[in-house]
Symmetry: C2
Subunit: 356 residues, 2 copies
């Protein structure tokens, strides 16, 4: 290991050719005579030169082969939520053609933080990091780099991959209403960035698009349903939220609509730990459809969202933009999947619908 690494100039010198010739041997962009190639390769081997320095090459070519993926608050939560990982999965697949790597970035406390401004990425995918989204977007667009937004409002000119969140959540809500439920509570995804668990006040502004849209969908059917925002999409947070909901004044709700499957699992456990039965005493619904285990022998009633497809679509859009095209935004839809965590509302004790 020499102190200084060999450069292509060193190789060329040793091989007795011009640097450009040596360069061509590695890039293969231009024909080279076998004799020359052999000399260059030999020289490279002798010097321990393994190929062009990626930093220099990317400066010269103007491409780094990296796509930045900005995932919410913390990488931690992102990895823990199967929806995100499935989506990343799809993203990787959607860009398999290009030989690019995915650079995972979190949209940290410092909005539009250093990473966004200084990451050597050819393009970015922003994932549901609303609220802070505007800043992040500015940081990126300022760089004149292609960007696609998944589940967030990006404004003009930015391709977006969205879900029919409002309508989808309304479908679930109607299912619950049709079962006769009237006292319904909602457990939402995080409402603000950074997340802050707690009741969502009437008329409160909700930064996060997904949360806002799904909440709207539920309220389309149950206008007065109280909503508790979880701190993250996790079982624990769902449990805590349900505890808060059940501890509220008045009779407990007969149905709890959670905005993610993970939250729903937590809700179910909290309900059970409170000595009640799902769905006899309380019906519970989720959202996502990728989380299948954890409530056995129950099967969660939920909306199945095309998570992998979201990623694939984003990947395809990025590919298109890198190729100079202008991809369209995309609206994907979810499918209702009934399970047995919902059932008929328990016989009313004559209580009117009320806030919990």
């Amino acid at each position: 290991m020499n102190v200084r690494r060999a450069t292509i100039a060193d190789v060329a010198r040793l091989a007795g050719v011009a640097a450009s010739t040596a360069s061509v041997v590695f890039s293969g962009k231009t024909p080279v005579s076998d004799a020359t190639r052999a000399r260059v390769v030999a020289a490279a081997e002798q010097l321990g030169y393994t190929g062009p320095d990626p930093r220099a090459a990317s400066l010269r070519r103007g491409r780094s082969g990296i796509v930045g993926v900005v995932i919410g608050d913390r990488l931690q939560n992102a990895f823990r939520d199967p929806v995100t990982t499935v989506m990343l999965d799809g993203l990787a697949e959607g860009m398999a053609e290009q030989d690019v790597g995915l650079l995972l970035l979190r949209d940290g406390a410092e909005s539009g933080g250093p990473a966004l401004r200084s990451a050597p990425a050819d393009a970015f995918v922003l994932v549901g990091c609303s609220g802070r989204l505007a800043d992040s977007l500015d940081a990126i667009r300022g760089r004149g780099i292609p960007v696609v937004v998944i589940e967030g409002d990006a404004g003009e000119g930015v391709p977006q991959i969205r879900l029919d969140n409002r309508e989808a959540q309304a479908v679930v809500a109607r299912h619950v209403r049709d079962l006769g439920h009237e006292r319904v509570a909602l457990v939402t995804l995080q409402a603000s960035v950074p997340a802050q668990a707690g009741w969502i006040a009437d008329g409160a502004t909700i930064d996060v698009d997904v949360t806002r849209d799904r909440l709207a969908g539920a309220r389309d059917v149950f206008p007065d349903a109280p909503a508790f925002a979880a701190g993250a999409s996790s079982i624990d947070q769902g449990y805590a939220a349900a505890e808060a909901v059940l501890a509220g004044p008045g009779p407990h709700p007969t149905a709890i609509l959670a905005q993610s499957d993970l939250l729903a699992v937590g809700v179910i456990r909290a309900v059970q730990d409170a000595g009640m039965v799902v769905p006899d005493d309380v019906s519970v619904t989720g959202f996502d459809g990728v989380w299948v285990d954890g409530v056995a022998p129950l099967t969660l009633t939920t909306m199945v969202q095309p998570a992998a497809e979201k990623g694939r679509a984003a990947g395809a859009a990025i590919s298109a933009m890198l190729a100079g095209a202008e991809p369209e935004s995309m609206l994907l839809s979810s499918a209702f999947r009934p399970g047995n965590t919902t059932g008929p509302a328990p016989i009313s004790r004559g209580e009117p619908a009320s806030s919990v």
Copy 2:
């Protein structure tokens, strides 16, 4: 959006200062008078200059702020396996100090493929991509870049983060033996790269370190236990492997030791679908300890490995190496966690221990 993006030279010109001065305004490495700074900032804003081009900066500085993480075969499997995501989690945490991004790379079909050679990373973390590991390692070391290996044999001079796989698996095996089991079958993680599901022949070479070591641990206790290699660490593959195991000739095994929790869950389902009861007819064990759901109301008997700690340790090692230190390798240990998927061996029908 101009055709050409503004450079720091443009900004400097407009501000009437030298390029180096403008640069300093952005980097903050040297004091600048307020007046000058203001002029530069104004010029930058006017030109839409949002900061130095990362590619040029990293060429100049010799650092890109990126750490490459090479995960097995497919990103897909990596994301699907909670062990990996938890590990990544820890890795991100272990490097939180540095403002670096994680570049996810797969060690694709083309060994030591382009990504490894051409990714502008300051360091690499290789995760259990053995077999192909040697090639990848060469590709990286040739570049003279710090590298840490998690769960793989990297040879001299490369810090490694390893688990006590062999001993840990032996602990589980002894637990099973102590319960009276004699006819035991093993379901292993992938044995080769790329993965190929199937029985592991006697004396076959196993490329993947983790698989080999855990297998050895099990064989320390059950020298003749037949082993079936799964195609990946997933429930489905576990299910398929167990089907193969149960379909074998002779009496079915009374215990199946799986090398991961996901596999174990699949095994359990296959056993149940075959009309048998866990653990009465067949005991099942896992490995990992991060997967808690999916077999309710059973609790998996498993080894809990410090997955997050693995990542953290790797992150710390990378940080140290980037700072010029030479971190030591690390051996982490797992803890036995008994569950109720194991129980006493069913009453023997006088069959001798045999291969299935």
